[in-house]
């Protein structure tokens, strides 16, 4: 499998009143297309920060993030374009825009890229149907949906611009176990069937079952899960 992501010696420190907090400390790993990479660790271990660094929502203090060979951590990279087409985010708290319908939430990333309206709609309907969101739910506002429905809409939104990498931050954290299982299955399908590079960070070790690669994160440091085990 082709290497989609290479992270080398990545570090991030936050300044706080109580002193500097090393959130990510010299992390290096690789993730491939068509595989599910799972990073497990307790709360505060730095896994969300690592995900945000990969998604360019935070900038690293040092290290490299290569996406298909291109270092996005260096200055001059088009991070807006990167966020639009190379990565898709799935969040623990869904982060849908509550005033918009499911369909509108999914078309929004495409609208920002100025994709023609007809094309936006067709793609959004296709994605939502794949996620099991029927026509009625597609017209329902996000704030009237259940957690599972919201997360499926969030995955559809992450897939809207057909990114190479899906970054999922605690995707089951706010769901019951059955619904969480459905969501994880969808993410796995995206890797296996669509060839996406799916990276899931979670504290739920049961997700490790579906992992092609697994890492453990503790105090900002990343270790190979199998090696730990």
């Amino acid at each position: 499998m082709e290497n989609a992501l290479q992270v080398k010696n990545l570090s991030k420190t936050f300044k706080a009143k109580a002193g500097d907090v090393v959130a990510v400390d010299g992390v290096s790993f690789e993730a491939r297309k068509g595989e599910v990479t799972v990073i497990v660790g307790p709360s505060g271990s730095g896994k969300t920060t690592l995900l945000y660094l990969i998604g360019s929502l935070e900038s690293p203090d040092r290290g490299e993030i290569r996406v298909f060979g291109e270092d996005i951590a260096t200055s001059g990279a088009d991070l807006i374009q990167y966020r639009r087409v190379r990565v898709g985010f799935v969040f623990q708290f869904f982060n849908l825009i509550s005033a918009l319908t499911a369909l509108e939430n999914v078309t929004l990333p495409m609208d920002l890229r100025a994709v023609p309206a007809g094309e936006q709609r067709a793609r959004a309907v296709e994605l939502l149907e794949r996620m099991g969101i029927d026509a009625r739910l597609q017209r329902t506002k996000a704030n009237r949906m259940s957690g599972g429905e919201k997360q499926r809409v969030a995955i559809a939104r992450a897939m809207a611009n057909d990114p190479d990498i899906i970054l999922a931050d605690e995707p089951t954290g706010n769901l019951d176990s059955a619904t969480g299982r459905v969501v994880v299955d969808i993410l796995v399908k995206l890797a296996r069937e669509d060839g996406k590079c799916v990276i899931i960070v979670t504290h739920d070790e049961s997700i490790l079952e579906v992992a092609d690669r697994a890492f453990h994160m503790m105090d900002g440091k990343l270790t190979d899960h199998n090696r730990d085990g």
Binding site: E58, R84, P109, D111
Partner: protein, 503 residues
């Protein structure tokens, strides 16, 4: 364009929050625009008033001098006065009769002052007309005594001739006589005498319609007027009627039997003719002047005091008090509305700042999501700018409509507050006021015309022009920019990673 469309959609999707902001803005904007409209109306009216009021003045013998002369005469006693009158030669007699008149050369010289635009000279005289009866005055003749009538100083006036007594008003151009200028009289037939008629001392008159009908007189007929002092040389003058006028405003009873002056009692003639009828060549009752602007009043008064006043003998009276009477409440309204406008705009600014802070603050996560899924700062700012503009636009449209409905009421209310104060001040002054200092100006109408008795009502006419829309748009632009300042700062500082992690 897509960002603007998203902003518009977002405006529709947050009806409750946006409606609250729209309502608050609407109230403040309505008040702001009303204050602005009232101020503009007040300013515009003061400007237009300046063109017609406050730019008039007249020169005549001062009240103070008249009182002094009366007091001197009273000190002499009747016997001495009679002795002096009998011993006067013709020149002394003229000087005595002219003591309350203005030498024509002073009136002419003052007209050459800077700022003076037009001028006229006026003389009134009681003249007996032999072939016409003053039907309004005739029934009163039996009640008058010859002694009383003799005291009026009109030669030949007695109970028989009282019915033939008319007032002659002379000026240099019939059309510019104040009664015709202010509309209290209107020429209905024939023509006015001209300045040339005055220069050539052409014996022509304008007669009142009722008087002409009652005496069977018409255009081209003549009236035979007795020249004052005619008893000495027994002279009359034939005057051709060249115009008939009708009285629009009824003249008033001033209280004295001789001053009683019904509509048909006045004839208008060239000044030079009236001067001859009154045997007072070279004298006028007053010089009447229109100057460029009310702001020239002080300069003209100063020039008059220095060059023409001859101590306290002559005075220069202006209609400045009329101007003040009208403009002061309007200026007060203008100032009050400016304060109101400033306050309301301040409130607008505060409301929009608070409202935007609350809206944006409540939608921080939305902003973070937009940035996380690839929106540029510019796209987000444009979207919120469109939303803020929608809020402001709806508010301004509603406020403009409401302003049209209520601003006249606000203006009237402000004006009534100002004029109430003014009336109180005036009533206080009335107890101490000097009767002679409140002399009527010729501009308000000739002798016995009622115009000066009427209070000119001060009105504020709020007229809606394109200006209102322009000002509305400018205010909209201002508050929109202000409203956008908050989201722009917020958006540029926002770190999506931080807000997306929040539960």
């Amino acid at each position: 364009m897509r960002s603007i469309r998203r902003g518009f959609k977002s405006f529709r999707r947050h009806p409750v929050g946006n409606l609250i902001v729209v309502l608050l803005l609407f109230v403040c904007l309505t008040f702001s625009l009303s204050m602005l409209v009232v101020r503009l109306a007040a300013e515009s009216q003061v400007r237009s008033i300046k063109r017609s009021v406050g730019n008039y003045g007249e020169v005549r013998v001062s009240s103070e001098y008249i009182l002094e002369v009366f007091e001197r005469e009273l000190e002499k006693g009747e016997r001495q006065r009679n002795r002096e009158a009998r011993s006067m030669n013709e020149e002394e007699e003229l000087a005595d009769r002219a003591k309350f008149h203005l030498p024509e050369e002073i009136a002419d010289a003052f007209s050459r002052q800077e700022h003076i635009l037009t001028y006229d000279k006026v003389m009134n005289a009681g003249i007996i007309v032999l072939n016409a009866v003053n039907s309004e005055l005739a029934p009163l003749a039996p009640y008058a005594t010859d002694a009383e009538l003799a005291r009026q100083g009109i030669e030949g006036l007695n109970r028989q001739t009282l019915s033939n007594l008319f007032v002659f008003e002379g000026n240099t151009n019939g059309a510019s006589a104040s009664d015709f200028l202010n509309g209290s009289k209107r020429l209905v037939e024939g023509s006015f005498y001209t300045y040339r008629d005055h220069l050539e001392k052409k014996p022509v008159v304008l007669a009142e319609k009722n008087m002409a009908e009652e005496n069977d007189l018409g255009i081209g007929d003549t009236v035979e007027a007795v020249v004052v002092r005619g008893s000495r040389n027994n002279r009359t003058m034939e005057l051709e009627i060249i115009g008939i006028y009708e009285t629009v405003l009824a003249e008033r009873d001033s209280g004295s039997i001789l001053d009683y002056n019904p509509a048909g009692n006045k004839l208008f003639a060239p000044l030079s003719v009236v001067q001859e009828l009154n045997s007072m060549p070279g004298y006028v009752e007053l010089g009447s002047y229109y100057f460029d602007d009310v702001d020239s009043t002080a300069a003209l008064k100063e020039a008059f005091e220095q060059e023409f006043a001859e101590g306290n003998r002559y005075e220069f009276l202006t209609d400045f008090s009329d101007y003040e009477k009208i403009s002061e409440p309007l200026e007060k309204v203008g100032k009050t509305s400016l304060i109101g406008l400033a306050g309301a705009l301040g409130a607008c600014a505060l409301i929009i700042l608070l409202a935007m802070a609350i809206i944006i603050g409540g939608r921080t996560r939305e902003l973070g999501v937009l940035k996380a899924i690839g929106a540029t700062g510019r796209q987000v700012i444009l979207q919120y700018a469109a939303e803020v503009t929608c809020i402001c636009l709806v508010s301004v449209i509603l406020a403009t409509g409401a302003t049209v409905l209520i601003s006249q009421g606000i203006g009237n209310w402000l004006l009534s507050s100002s004029t109430e104060q003014k009336v109180e001040e005036k009533e206080t002054r009335a107890y101490t006021g000097n009767y002679l200092s409140d002399r009527k100006l010729y501009k308000e109408g000739g002798l016995y015309s009622p115009a000066s008795e009427e209070e000119e009502a001060v009105n504020l006419n709020v007229i809606y022009q394109g200006d209102l829309l322009v000002y509305g748009i400018l205010i909209l632009l201002g508050i929109s920019l202000l409203g956008m300042a908050v989201p722009v700062i917020w958006i540029t500082r926002l770190r999506p990673a931080r807000v997306l992690s929040m539960e």
